[in-house]
Amino acid sequence: MKRLIIATLVLFGLTAGVAISGSVYPEIPKATGEAHPEGNEFMRVNHMDLLRHDRDLTMREGVRDTDYSLAECVTCHAVNGPDAKPVTIKSEEHFCRTCHEYVAVKIDCFQCHNSVPEALGEASLMFERPDETLDVLLAYLEGLSK
């Protein structure tokens, strides 16, 4: 009987855990441009090392054509706000913040670097807000009409 109770509790705990992680896991905004050849999993784990390596090359030796740069990050991963302009790091919707808040790691990059693309290129203008926002709005309108 004891075993059965424990097994039930464990099972319940697992399902509850899955349910919680499903709702809390950050919604990572989609990016424009080509996908990283290394794959998203690699970038999630290693992006800070790639940036750190290249920042020293650029700063100390003047190498500007590095493989990775923060300016490129914020260009492809720009998230547009309600005013159709890319949001800054002050917004919770900013690409970097969505994950970094989830894992509770503070970013210092944007104390000095700009968190939005400098020139509004085609890429950032074409970027669409996540479809889910639209769904929420439609559901709200539907609710009003009922």
């Binding site: 920042r55 020293d56 100390r60 030796e61 003047g62 104390q111 000095c112 670097h113 700009n114």
Partner: protein
């Protein structure tokens, strides 16, 4: 260069003799020949040298960037270089004593005669920079091509370099900054100063924002170029006309030199 009391204004800025320069060239030639030999003896097709050549393209150790400023051509009511610098790098003044000043117009007055001179002063890009000497973290450093910079990644904002600099060329950022230029990141709690438009040089513009602005006004008071290249405009001007460096008593061998002050 027969005027007594003035140092020879050669490409080396007066700090090193022509003999030393020759020796340096010799060493460079030797290294070059050694590198060529290494690549031959290793094997054809071995790309050992590829890495070195790629890096050398940006901050070239054979180059020393410098400025020559003719105070005689610099009108006291013109500050085109200052506003050009501000636009290029995105720093601005709020009317406070602690405002950043990457470049500023200074008026010198001869007390005996009352004669006034107006000239821009910025980081003088010393060969032996005191700011680099005192920096506790290595954030203040000199690039291979002679440009003195602050690496804000390691700057802790102690401001020791600001005290060490004889020219008050460094500023501290006292307020959070937003909307920085992608080419000039800058932020609260770090020290900054003239970087000789290093982003422009790295992309091959071969000039700085202040010099471009000065030429646009028609004053042509500033010449930018490679002090190590005897054929550059700046080296020729330095060889043909007398010039001085500020506080030459400190023997810092500056990258910025002045005429007519």
């Amino acid at each position: 260069m027969n005027i007594p009391g003035l140092k020879p204004a050669g490409g080396c800025g007066g700090g090193c003799s022509s003999k030393e320069k020759g020796a340096d060239l010799h060493r460079r030639d030797f290294l070059k020949s050694g590198a060529a030999m290494a690549s031959v003896t290793l094997a054809p097709g071995v790309t050992l040298m590829a890495m070195g050549s790629g890096v050398a393209a940006a901050a070239n150790p054979d180059v020393r960037w410098g400025l020559l400023i003719d105070a005689g051509k610099c009108p006291s009511d013109c500050s085109a270089c200052v506003s050009a610098c501000s636009n290029e790098h995105g720093w601005e003044n709020h009317g406070e004593d602690t405002d950043p000043q990457w470049i500023r117009k200074v008026t010198l007055k001869d007390r005996a005669t009352g004669h006034e001179n107006s000239l821009p002063v910025m980081c003088q890009h010393c060969e032996n920079p005191p700011c680099v000497d005192v920096c506790p973290t290595g954030a203040s450093f000199k690039r291979e091509d002679g440009i003195v910079l602050v690496d804000r990644h390691t700057c802790i904002g102690c401001r020791y370099c600001m005290m060490a600099c004889p020219f008050k060329a460094r500023s501290f950022v006292h307020h959070p900054v937003e909307g920085q230029k992608a080419s000039t990141p800058r932020g609260n709690g770090t020290v900054e100063g003239c970087n000789m438009c290093v982003h422009k040089l790295d992309r091959g513009d071969g000039t700085t924002a202040c010099v471009e602005a000065c030429n646009a006004t028609g004053n042509n008071a500033m010449i930018f170029g490679d002090l190590n290249d005897p054929e550059s405009d700046i080296s020729k001007a330095l060889a043909n006309y007398p010039s001085i460096e500020l506080r030459s008593d400190l023997r810092l061998n500056l990258g910025v030199r002045y005429q007519n002050i």
